[in-house]
Symmetry: C2
Subunit: 450 residues, 2 copies
């Protein structure tokens, strides 16, 4: 059908029903330049989300894993983590599993071939499940099981898809030379681990897993610490050794920084001194001071002192994080309207062309519901004055959004033979669609007569 571009359309401000423009974007390009991010989700954010989605549901048919372990099912074997294993001194396998309690995905860390001794207790893990901080991967429970065919201890954590370990940072590749540009990243890492350690130490616990193998690097350089609490189960600390273990947490963080310079953990104090010396040539004196305080060669490292040394660098990290939030919100603004449209389109598609309606008076060319069919034509089957099809996503979105709102604007619908036409408001069509769809849902829910 050819619809004259209608004059009524202008009675409603058109853009109201269209996708809205973006929230402010800290960048102003010359008018003729457009970037993909002006129209879509920023590429790396989109890719990250898709990869995460894929990792959440990826399954391999694997008969070597049990169907269920405790209250978890749909186990997916992620691999043997040798790096983590060597940190914990155990054989560690990772699984993604779904909880029967709530259908969410969790990470199972399985320590295989392990029978707990008389001094070891899973109860100690409980304390660590109470830690709540954005940089800590929450632990939930620990249990022993023979479901894998051996004596295993399983620790349950939140599952974060696609996290790389700290060891896979680009700065750690042998050929990479740390330079002054990396300083902001170093501050990001240090401040984040400090935040994690504060959350742990506040509970009068020591992390004991500040290691490159236990730190996941998520999108936008977010660090998340995995495996908290496992060392305490394997090797419980006496009350007076907690403080020393806390100091060792800071030293482990210093070693991580040194590892970035040395491309591997330092093995001796000589290594540490060498790393520190080569850092002095590249980085600010503030960073050197903080790393020295973390290392605590002269006095025990203390959180308050170290944070004070970081000073305004925490503002940098905070601002970085705020920019991340803003980027996410920008992305969300562009995507949030779509789920409404998906549902509306599905509704319409359920109603159009149903064979059951063929003999229904309401859907005949004289029936009221026929307007829905005509509206569908109006949205999707327009042709221009030369008879060419009009493919205009803007028109579709505009019409659908107006339909969803049910505005009072009138449109003229024309039958396919162009012999009759009806003037009707979006509000009326919305009412018809809702009634017809509800009718259909009632039909589908009817208990059949036998």
């Amino acid at each position: 059908m050819y619809y004259q571009p209608s004059a009524q359309a202008s009675t409603e401000p058109l853009q109201y029903h269209l996708y809205v423009p973006r929230p402010p974007y800290k960048r102003r390009l010359p008018p003729h330049i457009r970037e993909p991010a002006d129209f879509f989700l920023e590429t790396d954010l989109h890719l990250n989300l898709l990869q995460k989605a894929e990792a959440m549901v990826q399954t391999v048919h694997d008969y070597s894993v049990p169907d269920t372990v405790s209250s978890y099912h749909s186990l997916h074997f992620l691999g043997v983590d040798e790096a983590m294993g060597s940190v914990l001194g155990q054989h560690v396998s990772q699984y993604r599993a779904t909880s029967s309690d709530n259908g969410m995905s969790y990470l199972l860390l399985r320590l295989s071939g392990l029978i707990l001794g008389p001094t070891q207790s899973l109860k100690l893990f409980q304390k660590f499940t109470r830690i709540s901080a954005p940089g800590v991967i929450n632990g939930y429970e620990a249990f022993t099981t023979q479901a894998f065919g051996d004596h295993s201890v399983v620790f349950v954590y939140d599952f974060y898809p696609v996290g790389q370990s700290f060891w896979m940072l680009p700065q750690l590749s042998i050929s990479y030379m740390l330079n002054a540009k990396d300083e902001s990243d170093l501050w990001l890492y240090i401040c984040q681990v400090l935040a994690i350690l504060r959350a742990v130490h506040k509970q009068k616990l020591a992390a004991r897993v500040v290691s490159g193998s236990m730190i996941l690097v998520d999108f936008q350089k977010r660090l998340r610490l995995n495996g908290l609490g496992i060392p305490d189960v394997l090797d419980p600390l006496s009350a007076d050794s907690v403080q020393k273990a806390q100091a060792d947490d800071f030293r482990a963080l210093a070693d991580l920084v040194f590892a970035l310079v040395l491309k591997g953990l330092p093995r001796s104090d000589d290594d540490r001194n060498a790393a520190l010396d080569s850092m002095k040539a590249v980085f600010s004196s503030e960073l050197i001071k903080v790393v020295m305080a973390l290392r605590g060669a002269d006095e025990e490292p203390k959180l308050d002192d170290i944070v004070r040394l970081c000073g305004t660098r925490f503002i940098d990290v905070l601002e970085y994080q705020m920019n991340c939030t803003d980027a996410m919100e920008r992305g969300l603004m562009t995507e949030v309207e779509n789920d409404r449209l998906v549902r509306l389109l599905c509704k319409l598609n359920y109603l159009i062309q149903r064979p059951e309606f063929a003999n229904d008076d309401n859907w005949s060319a004289q029936g009221t519901n026929y307007l829905i069919v005509l509206f569908h034509d109006y949205v999707f089957q327009q042709v221009d004055e030369t008879g060419k099809p009009v493919i205009d996503l803007g028109h579709v979105l505009r019409c659908l959004n107006k339909l969803d709102v049910g505005v009072d604007e009138s449109i003229m619908l024309v039958s396919r033979d162009e012999r009759s036409c009806v003037i009707v408001t979006y509000a009326k069509i919305k009412e018809l669609v809702d009634n017809a769809f509800n009718q259909l849902v009632r039909e589908s829910a009817k208990v059949p007569l036998h």
Copy 2:
């Protein structure tokens, strides 16, 4: 058509094509409890996004505003801001306008009835446009105009919809008594303003607008400072008075904190002392120390010292911000799949039921494209064995996602008269849909013959 629940479906892991489960959520409820946030965008986040979207496009037919001002069009009068006016000592009106350069929305702050004197220069505004910080509302340009029918000076900033001014915080209502629970909010506000001031002072400038009327409070307690640079245009600072103005910025922040206690700005040092005394009873000594340092009664306030006094409180603010990012990412995960589906559904709807295709062999019951029609039936027109319609959004999403990916899974399509059936893969249907749609787009782009 009634389709037997197919056995082939299980050859592809079903959930892969479904909406994916949520990323970890720092909360574990008993299995029988579900919250709305388990299924949809969290309500306040969704509402915030919708309100922002509405504010971005809201228009009122208003003949008192000019059609264009400089390179901005579609001006929308937001109101006269008397609070801001009294801070700047001018009559201030706010407009939202669209730039002809890039189609983005900007905020125009119009100072009306103002002719710049010989010592005043818009060039001074330039320096402030270079400040880039997440808490600063970017300024872009300033110009004089007579488009409003008088002599006006217009300052152009990023437009942030739905921000409330600081004065509208719930803590400022007369009946509200500040209590210990507000301390974390106070730290949030103080640390954010400190971050803003650092960004400004780093450029050797003073903000001079740290006032409740110039601070927008956005979603999730994000502060954004508006109107930076206007005081420098109205009343330029001499080089040696910048430092004093910077110290005054900190004092203004202290006054904002006092205002929360006094429910209004302090008018004298007695007011400030009284506010400080009543704060001592409620808040931690760290907060009191920071506020005293900001006030700088004894010595000039300095950023480094104040940040050092904040100490680990910056970690709290950082963690709060990280949680905000995580919440946004969770929301984005649920929404990101939908835009793909909207586009795919539109494609399908363009192809189904086109009258032009009525005489096209490809679309006849023997033609290849007829499979697209049958597929549409398969997705939307299923009935169960008793003939009741099947309304199953899960089935629709599964089919559409498989179609979008073009998986190798085969399905059996049945004609409406149930006399013929075809076994075809999603990959084949995807190919047909793509070809048919591209054909349609080519048609629509054809130059008509005359």
